[in-house]
């Protein structure tokens, strides 16, 4: 039997990846057991390259040999595979459309914009800060006074966004941008999410994330 095939559930991941964390949170919400495999992104395993030949990226969820790629795709797959517990998407088709829209927005905006905050300097960084604050305010507006983005139930949009909160400390240290100050309404939502075991066990220590960012800056030759 080839490595990784028919071995139940395997998640190919990288500890600091917010995309991988989404999958860990979803699996934990469903109470599903799986094998976590840390990938060395500078020396990707044959299994990863075979399972995601198009993008060659983590995360990949391999379910009895069948790979599922792309984090939001994986989260929806997990939700549909185990529909009997902890629904991650609402039942109503309009609410589902809203959830997919906002999760997709987080995907399009947060990672790229957040990365610019620590990669850029000077005027470019100031522009990046303005852009990031706009995104935070947009999300803050969408959350409103709700408990979670989908209402009373923790779901897809919360899962899409919450891993980026572990990077807030790094954004403040690198770009002097306090997400908490710019979008104060998100603060109680972050606290609420972190009180969930699925989230607290899946998210890394923000200080460790910052160490990683400092390491990356050295690698890229950024001061």
């Amino acid at each position: 039997m080839a490595e990784g095939e028919n071995k139940g559930l395997v998640l190919l991941d990288f500890w600091v990846s917010p995309f991988g964390q989404r999958c860990r949170i979803a699996l934990a919400e469903k109470g599903v057991e799986y094998e976590y495999r840390e990938e060395n992104l500078r020396d990707k395993s044959p299994l990863l390259l075979k399972s995601n030949p198009v993008h060659k990226k983590i995360p990949v969820l391999i379910d009895h040999g069948r790979p599922v790629c792309e984090s939001l795709n994986i989260v929806q797959y997990i939700d549909e595979k185990w529909p009997d517990r902890a629904p991650l998407l609402p039942a109503d088709s309009y609410a589902r459309a809203q959830a997919r829209f906002w999760a997709d927005l987080v995907d399009k905006k947060m990672y790229e914009s957040g990365t610019k905050l620590w990669k850029l300097k000077g005027e470019a960084q100031e522009e990046a800060k303005k852009e990031f604050i706009e995104i935070l305010k947009l999300l803050e507006g969408e959350l409103g006074d709700k408990k979670y983005f989908g209402g009373d139930t923790f779901g897809l949009v919360d899962i899409a966004l919450v891993p980026f909160t572990a990077w807030f400390y790094s954004y403040e240290a690198c770009a002097n941008l306090s997400a908490e100050k710019e979008a104060p309404k998100l603060v109680p939502w972050v606290k609420r999410c972190r009180e969930r075991e699925s989230v607290s066990k899946s998210l890394p220590d923000p200080l460790k994330v910052y160490e990683f960012v400092c390491f990356l800056k050295k690698v890229y030759g950024i001061e």
């Binding site: 030949p53 198009v54 379910d63 069948r66 599922v68 790629c69 792309e70 795709n73 994986i74 929806q76 797959y77 549909e80 595979k81 088709s93 309009y94 589902r96 459309a97 997919r100 829209f101 997709d104 927005l105 947009l138």
Partner: protein, 203 residues
């Protein structure tokens, strides 16, 4: 529970392939709808109201609420009017369809756009990128998840056929305008077949 088909309105643009996707999905579902042509350079107040985040077509209005982003809209249509499903039932298959839909929008479409907006060596590289992307799809059709199928959706047109088929309209236009060959009939006979079949079903 299926919703009554009344009060469905689509804000769209005649040249926009994302609008075409939604029109095709609504027609496949046999749904009546009102169509409002939008000037995509000067969005109307209605479009700004219904898509304040991206300010773009298409926007589907149903029961006084708006849904935007074409792949989100297509899934909404499929889940609201459940006859003639355009997505498979199996979670693995659904994941594969979603993957290739995002590939189309995130990789293939921008690569095609780059062909149009570049020249010389840059354009050659962009054409190569499109060929690479199409080869990946071709591999799935020949040997992968879609092996042996008439359409990506199986025996019937599905969500991925809609997404790719509507994009293929612009591929043909670009080929003529830019005098480049994007769909090479030799290495990709099955994707050519897919495009032609999708195009003929759109009429």
């Amino acid at each position: 529970m299926d919703q009554p088909p009344s009060s469905v309105k689509l804000l769209g643009s005649w040249a926009d392939s994302h609008t075409h996707r939604v029109q095709l999905a609504l027609k496949l579902k046999g749904l009546e709808f009102e169509y409002q042509e939008e000037d995509f350079i000067n969005p109307s107040p209605a479009l700004l109201l219904h898509n304040p985040v991206y300010k773009k077509v298409p926007a589907l209005l149903h029961g006084g609420r708006s849904i935007v982003e074409s792949i989100v809209i297509l899934q909404y249509i499929d889940e609201t009017w459940t006859d003639n499903p355009i997505m498979p039932a199996d979670p693995s298959e659904r994941a594969v369809i979603r993957f290739w839909c995002h590939f189309t929008d995130d990789k293939l479409a921008p690569a095609v756009g780059l062909v149009f907006s570049s020249s010389g060596e840059g354009q050659k590289a962009a054409v190569d990128q499109v060929h690479e992307n199409l080869k990946l799809l071709e591999r799935e059709l020949k040997d992968g998840a879609f092996k042996g199928r008439r359409f990506f959706g199986g025996d019937k047109i599905g969500l991925l056929d809609i997404v790719l088929g509507c994009g293929s309209y612009w591929l043909a236009v670009f080929e003529e305008v830019m005098e480049v060959k994007l769909i090479d009939p030799n290495p990709s006979p099955s994707s050519m077949h897919g495009c032609e079949t999708s195009r003929s079903n759109r009429r």
